[in-house]
């Protein structure tokens, strides 16, 4: 699960997304094992509001944690080299790579401009297939 899904839960400026996210956490995730990466934990640690930061930290504690490693870094660099994502999206690439090498079935994100889009989905799975890594479904919360 990408950081955007967790932060959307507390972002009341985009009500529709917040409601979908609440539904996702209340109903959908009960059917799955949920994983977050060390990148998500580190990003949430940059939340400016101390109350929200504590809420985020407490919230992610209940999920399984995946850590980046050399294999994920190498795959992420491959995504960048093959222009799946730009250099400024290396952290997103790393997030996708961590999910891929850990055989995660679904990567859930609200990031429609870089992650949840047809080009990224196709290219990620093309690179994964070339590198002998399991393919990955990249989706938004309502799709699960």
């Amino acid at each position: 699960m990408d950081t955007s899904v967790i932060s959307a839960l507390y972002d009341d400026r985009v009500k529709e997304r917040q409601e979908e996210t609440k539904r996702f956490f209340k109903e959908t995730i009960l059917r799955y094992d949920i994983y977050v990466s060390n990148l998500t934990v580190s990003e949430l640690d940059q939340t400016i509001d101390p109350v929200k930061k504590k809420e985020f930290k407490d919230f992610v504690k209940k999920f399984n944690l995946l850590k980046q490693n050399k294999e994920a870094e190498s795959l992420a660099k491959d995504y960048i080299d093959k222009k799946v994502l730009s250099k400024s999206s290396y952290e997103d690439a790393l997030h996708i790579a961590i999910a891929s090498i850990n055989n995660i079935n679904y990567l859930v994100s609200w990031n429609f401009t870089d992650i949840v889009k047809v080009k990224t989905k196709r290219m990620v799975n093309f690179v994964n297939s070339m590198d002998g890594v399991k393919t990955l479904e990249i989706i938004s919360p309502p799709e699960l």
Partner: protein
């Protein structure tokens, strides 16, 4: 869109990594185009972009 940080403190991360103001401004322009009305995603993507610079420079 105002520059006041509301969600993710990307400016603090930029400062910690000695990122030049001009680089931060350029990234802000790019991300504002991507997320003109979504402050949370704008700040999250700024944070991710700044972290990406740091991570790529370490490798």
């Amino acid at each position: 869109m105002k520059n006041k940080i509301e969600y993710f403190d990307y400016l603090n991360e930029a400062q910690k990594n000695d990122l030049k103001d001009s680089v931060v401004k350029s990234l802000e322009r790019q991300m504002r185009k991507k997320y003109p009305k979504d402050k949370m995603m704008f700040e999250l993507k700024m944070l991710k972009a700044i972290n990406s610079f740091r991570l790529l420079s370490l490798n």
